[in-house]
Symmetry: C2
Subunit: 359 residues, 2 copies
């Protein structure tokens, strides 16, 4: 605790709902210069000083009055917008997280975040304490990686490949391969000796995947027919498909996947936003070719944070530059609405992160 120390918060709150319309910066309001007395921290509370913030497309739904799977409490007007961040504990009323602890947590779009109720056994906290070496950026691994390659996208890629049970020399097709999860899926599979094929939405991303991230092949799904591309790039067929899209491309993969092939389904963005679901017609091949479709939910696999397995597996690859992770880091929490809207409009490649403060 730091009694009597006053800090100044800035928050980005939901000002209005977009509902089905295109999101603009008008949905947000920046509230600056709100004083927080760090000595006000209570038993079971921490106050966090936020360092990096992850901007994620999936929180778009919290700008609708209804919809999505998360509780209504995540979409209140005048509350900070939802986001995961890297932060340092600067005031603590909870022994497990003393001052100076580095964590990731749902910090929201603000400079300082108060988290309460930690000593209530009925409250589940999403606070993750980072390993000591997270602080050491001289290794070439930036702290921001704890909300990207070593955070939720990293876990989703790493655990997803475990669920798939990938084997060397087989071929994996990664949908949204240039995205925050896809780029890691491809590179981690490549390191394990697979042939890796990806799709992305621009020629620039396709080139990046092949030249910088060593994919064996990639294609622009906006300009090339997927059936032709997959036939050309995977002459021995597809054994695994890491699917974030669903719909038509899933139906195509079902048709052409090899016997005993496996599909990991981590979401079906093509089927969201209240659209009429694409009717899948090739499910009969599941029995005919002993194919599996495996559903994946990120929070079923948090043990790889707790037991350090994700860090042990991925951090050395980043340090040795055997894999790379593409981030777009912008400065200043007050600029978060602009970058969130630009991201939704597809203006950025790589994971979008706001740097709020130095460590």
């Amino acid at each position: 605790m730091t009694p009597g120390k006053i800090v100044s918060n800035t928050r980005v709150v939901r000002a209005s709902y977009a509902n089905k319309a295109r999101v603009t910066t008008a949905q947000f309001r920046v509230e600056a210069n709100q004083e927080i007395d760090l000595s006000s921290v209570k038993e079971g509370e921490v106050i966090l000083r936020n360092l990096y913030l992850s901007l994620d497309p999936y929180v778009r739904f919290t700008l609708d009055e209804t919809g999505g799977d998360m509780p209504q409490s995540f979409r209140q007007l005048n509350d900070p917008f939802y986001g995961l961040g890297v932060a340092e504990v600067v005031a603590s009323g909870y022994e497990k997280y003393p001052v100076g602890t580095l964590v990731t947590a749902n910090t929201g779009y603000e400079k300082f975040t108060r988290i309460s109720g930690l000593n209530d056994p009925n409250t589940q906290s999403d606070i993750r304490v980072l390993p000591a070496h997270a602080r050491d950026e001289s290794t070439g691994v930036p702290l921001s990686n704890y909300i990207s390659a070593l955070g939720m996208p990293g876990l989703t890629a790493f655990a997803g490949l475990k669920v798939l049970g990938i084997e060397p020399k087989k071929t994996i097709f990664v949908g949204s391969a240039a995205g925050g999860v896809g780029q890691l899926v491809g590179q981690l599979a490549k390191v394990q000796g697979l042939r890796v094929i990806g799709s992305a939405g621009s020629d620039e991303k396709v080139s990046y995947l092949i030249e910088k991230q060593h994919f064996d092949g990639a294609f622009n799904y906006k300009t090339e027919d997927a059936r032709e591309a997959l036939t050309r790039l995977a002459p021995e067929g597809i054994d695994y498909y890491y699917d974030t899209v669903g719909g038509e491309i899933l139906d195509l993969v079902l048709e052409i996947i090899n016997e005993k092939g496996k599909i990991l389904s981590i979401g079906m963005v093509s089927q969201e936003n209240g659209k009429e679901p694409y009717p899948i017609r090739n499910l009969n091949v599941i029995a005919r070719k002993a194919v599996s479709i495996l559903g994946f939910i990120y929070w079923h696999h948090l043990q790889y944070f707790a037991n350090g397995e994700l860090d042990d597996a991925v951090r050395p690859l980043l340090e040795r530059k055997e894999i790379s992770y593409r981030e777009e880091v912008f400065e200043g929490i007050e600029n978060a609405p602009t970058h969130f809207v630009n991201m939704l409009d597809g203006k950025y490649a790589g994971k979008v992160i706001i740097k709020i403060a130095d460590l």
Copy 2:
């Protein structure tokens, strides 16, 4: 070998194709009194005396000129109709299967079957040597069980449950629960401590499942709405679905299955016979609820025959009458066409078997 011994064969051959039409006995021809000299057995051959024959709906497709996954050689006119049987080796030119060996094999619809090419390493034989105790029917386990509960249907049920990875106290829903596979799936799951729900196509079968095979619940899918029935019979929801049907019922199960639920897909009879496939609309729940659909092909799991695991697991249950297997056994190979047609017309409950000869 039994030099000079002449036996008299009777065969039931394909006389004409039914193609898309209803199969009648006109598709078959019985050819009696064909002499076979057992001493004619050559190197790499055996001659089998067939004891029991399995009549299976899935071989219906061999009465079409085209279609299905099996090779064209299984649908030749004037060849014995396709079927698995229990048989005894009565002449042998192959050391691994001496005279007196009990086997199951693709014997076809006939009294005696010659199998050649056994010493050709490029030929795959489906001959399975039965364990010594198969011969001992005093245990209460008839030899015919080696083409039912201890044969292909047994393996399909047993290995399918292994692939599902069932856990006690969870609920499994078995489609076609009164069929040759379904009745075993339900009973084996029940023995392992699950709550077992099944569907069947008549009130008689529903009663049989509950009263004789100890299902926790069953419903007649022809007279009751599946959604209402499953809600009523599985108040804690469905964790596993053993699916042989696909289509509309699979789409319903996807909608109502519990989080982390698993579906085993061993075939989609509703999607066969060139019908327009039913468009599945609920696949998005796979990611939302971490559900898996696991495709299953019987011949990927033959190791449970070879290593005795199926026999070790299921035979004691049959001997102790902890599970029962419903067979309809008819006498005489010449009657096989009538019973095959009756079976296709849904006139029988339980696995249909022809007894050809005494051991």
